[in-house]
Symmetry: C2
Subunit: 579 residues, 2 copies
């Protein structure tokens, strides 16, 4: 260890003192002592203890080493949320390698773009994505080794409505897996793990070593690569877990929670919750591919209490429970990724989901803000509470924020002054991968630019009013597309709504509403929906110029691979007269 002390020799370090780098292996320290008998489950397929999990991390590290991979090499994963993915979350960076979490929901050419850009030497490949992989062999020459992941051998497992038959790993099901794998792969994951030692001595190294890389979804141009160090992941994990845990009963993380991700592990480290849940030593469940029925089965069977997801997931859960005629019993769900509208928020509370909104982005590891529940909601009306809960929370520990005008001048935090949100935190990507120009633009003025338009109230509550590029500029005034969407979402016929700015000779831009109606309300007229906008103007919630000039009805809303509204595509469709 190099000395961690920087002053004169009186404060020198003892000869054998341990300097303690903030590296991912340290996140396991508590669980290795306190949680060896706690369990981790993969959907309805397998359940094992943390003790076994630690051994499998060691085995995976031995496999990677035996394949000739070295510190600094990139190892990509293409998988749904599995225990194997969690093992890679630890074993890959703990070996000094860089974990690339490939967004498998992107279009195939974009997936290939990210792989050719990050240049992984090895790929952990779920059998489901084999068709894509075949192409990579010719088009992604960096990949030298492919490890095959599949669920063969687990066919016996099933959910009978009351519980799962869980299958333990056995020689038999490992053999089944071996039967049918392509010849171009190195081997099957379980067989390879079984063939090596369960001991591995993970070395210490510089905490500023890169641990992970992944790509923004690329709604503007090619996907951009972000990257995070071990230190950044450890600090984000500590701080975001703390910001959750300090919340009131029913809203904060606890030692006795059961955790399951509903933001994919390929999406910004699943908001670092898999690292946090493992650090605490929680019981964990990994759901595989996100199918509403499976998710709800797993929540009910494993008594999941702690999860997270984008608003689309929230919608999916509510719909599935409606089918079953049941409600949740206070599932704690962190919601972020895109703004939650108040209609959905109301439905969530009615369905027993305690959603906790927050704010973050790919560039920020991701969590920057989170709703801090003390007792402030106790005295609110339901409407006030929903309104409050749809804001984006307050900065989590260590995070610094400012609201800047167009000249980079900080505006007051008075709940009214609106400008671009800029941030500082210990876990922000320090640039874009092989794209110094975009990185310098991201960091101009020494603060990271979120490209979100926001204001902050005197009590520190963050309100995102728009994406910088989505704001509608009408007659010199800014119109928040999120605000208008929120208001129109209250109409009972509206399933989904998006506002985009379209060119207008007189006003420069005017807001256009794109609406998907609920199946049972397809005869609703545009005027009926706009009436809600006019009502909001009368009540002073919206300026007059904020009411859309027109509504266009769509069958399906264009969305990005991670379920966000794809306004770039909408604007393109409008320009090309496709809508």
């Amino acid at each position: 260890m190099t000395s961690i002390l920087n002053q004169h020799e009186d404060y020198s370090q003892a000869e054998e003192a341990y300097g303690f780098p903030l590296i991912i292996k340290q996140l396991l320290n508590r669980a290795k002592i306190a949680s060896t008998q706690q369990t981790i489950s993969y959907a309805d397929k397998v359940t094992y203890t943390y003790a076994e999990f630690f051994k499998r991390i060691n085995r995976l590290a031995n496999v990677l080493k035996n394949l000739g991979l070295q510190a600094g090499d990139v190892v990509a994963v293409m998988d749904w949320d599995s225990h194997r993915y969690l093992e890679a979350y630890f074993a890959v960076p703990m070996s000094g390698m860089i974990l690339q979490t490939v967004n498998v929901r992107l279009a195939e050419d974009k997936v290939l773009y990210t792989i050719n850009h990050a240049k992984p030497k090895a790929l952990l490949l779920n059998a489901e994505f084999e068709p894509m992989a075949k192409n990579y062999r010719h088009e992604a020459p960096s990949i030298e080794k492919i490890i095959w992941l599949d669920d063969a051998g687990f066919d016996d497992a099933n959910f009978d409505g009351t519980g799962f038959d869980e299958v333990e790993y056995s020689e038999d099901n490992i053999k089944t897996k071996q039967a049918d794998i392509p010849d171009y792969v190195e081997g099957e994951y379980e067989a390879m793990l079984a063939a090596v030692s369960d001991a591995f001595d993970f070395p210490d190294f510089d905490e500023n070593t890169i641990a992970t890389t992944f790509y923004t979804s690329g709604t503007t141009g090619d996907p951009k690569g972000v990257f995070f160090t071990h230190r950044q992941i450890v600090l984000q994990t500590l701080s975001s877990t703390l910001a959750s845990a300090l919340s009131a009963e029913g809203q904060g993380a606890r030692y006795n929670d059961v955790y399951m991700p509903m933001t994919p592990l390929f999406h910004v480290h699943a908001w670092c919750w898999p690292y946090g849940a493992t650090m605490i030593g929680l019981k964990q469940v990994y759901p595989g591919r996100y199918l509403p029925e499976v998710l709800v089965n797993l929540i009910e069977h494993h008594k999941v209490t702690l999860s997270h997801g984008v608003p689309t997931i929230l919608q999916m859960l509510i719909k599935e429970m409606a089918t079953r005629g049941r409600k949740f019993n206070g599932l704690k769900l962190s919601v972020g990724g895109s703004k939650l509208n108040e209609g959905l928020a109301e439905a969530a509370l009615e369905n027993g989901i305690e959603f906790i909104s927050g704010f973050g982005m790919s560039e920020s590891c991701p969590v920057l803000a989170r709703m801090a529940f003390g007792d402030q909601t106790n005295t609110m009306t339901t409407t006030e509470e929903i309104n409050y809960r749809c804001l984006s929370g307050s900065p989590i520990m260590l995070v610094s924020m400012e609201i800047w005008d167009e000249n980079g001048k900080a505006l007051p935090m008075d709940g009214e002054s609106t400008g671009e949100l800029v941030v500082r935190a210990p876990w922000l990507t320090q640039s874009y991968f092989k794209n110094a120009d975009a990185g310098n633009e991201l960091w101009r003025g020494g603060w990271m630019h979120t490209q979100d338009i926001a204001c902050i109230s005197p009590n520190g509550t963050l309100k995102i009013t728009d994406r910088l590029k989505d704001v509608v500029k009408s007659g010199g005034e800014w119109i928040s597309s999120l605000e208008v969407e929120n208001i129109l979402s209250f109409h009972p016929s509206v399933a989904e709504v998006a506002i985009i700015g379209v060119a207008d000779e007189r006003w420069g831009e005017r807001p256009l509403a794109l609406v998907v109606l609920k199946p049972e309300h397809t005869d609703t007229k545009a005027e009926d929906i706009l009436a809600i906008g006019h009502q909001a103007v009368e009540k002073g919630y919206l300026p007059k110029y904020g009411v859309p000039s027109e509504i266009k009805f769509l069958i399906e809303m264009p969305k990005t691979s991670v379920g966000k509204l794809d306004k770039k595509k909408m604007r393109m469709m409008y320009t090309e007269k496709l809508i």
Copy 2:
């Protein structure tokens, strides 16, 4: 900022990227946005907002700078727990200076020893300690500047049983303070703050800069100096706050807690809670000198919910509430510093105090372990629960622990194997100040030696069985003095009990019990108390050789300056036939 990335140029940092050092000023980031209107109170004397607190930190930094003090200089504080002390907790290290928290409860010659050893250039001196300070002027030549702290001007404030008349700072009371200060000081704190700007631009610097220093209480030889970096304090604050917050309702820290320290600010950073409470932005109360009546008045008036203290404080609170014929309503009290015995634990629960035990030491900043309340106590009987709650908890996040035998070999964590507890964590003193030999001894083998004898159960619960130097070795067997003390503490006549090993020709050592009887039970016989020991042997809780051979009754138990049993003094008293 130097680059925080260590790999090839593809991962290079953007030109203006902010590397975010973990320095104490960053602990204020959240509160500066979210808690400006939250309050901090000094006893019954003054209440101000965080907004004012931030300005006073700036003012104090300007005062220190105007006195010619520079980065690296040591600034000592001799004060009871005050808002001024909290201001120094931030302003001194944020200025790059080193805060020495002087233990004012040590004997005068020891206080002088610690000051002459750390060599502060400036001293913030509470008027109460003037007699000592007069001596320092001649005997502690390092001190060039003294700033005078007192409570003059606050005479109007008083507690009338229902509330306080709080006095705001005004020119009048600042003048009163000026009236009567000694000529050898630079000035009075309030007047000096009032005379300078409330703006100060705290610089960034290396997070490995030393922030604080203080001295172990020196039960063995001269006090030894420990020292902590900014990074270490930030990490301890994040991790120990998190370990608290994850606990079940009524036991964990929350956003709506009201915090008051009952471990002095001069004692291991008051367990870093003042840093944590400020980081979260909690309402805070600083109680001045610890007088039982004042503490309880403040708890009741300010509705304090979150505190911490050694077992002696717990005893003091229970006694004071008995006088008032009242109970607490679930005060969350972290207990550490010395082992809690089960008799006291039972009384605490009966009196509405939710105590949470933990483990730490001066060398460890201090928190290493803490009871993690999930739902495991729900199914316990009261006796089982008390037993469990008197253990020392499980390692907090990032902490690694081992139990070593005398040859440095790690023993299994089976709840039975007992040896020295050794630890690794990101916040351990890296040596002793100007005492490399002791530092090297502390860190031999790359782990920090706690000198505590312990075992760890398979679920990670730490049980401290003795201090290495307090263990009684009888006939080749180790007897845990703590265990014997615990058993004898159940006798209804026993107020306090201590076990020490005394030389014995046949057995090497034998345990001797020193007992202070309750005032109403002074006629209790030694045999009555030993009978509890024999009963414990019969039930299998204690080996036969663990029953003390003799009991000696004392009027008062020898204790260290921080309220721990002073076994060194007891052994000395026995050797010199004083008992």
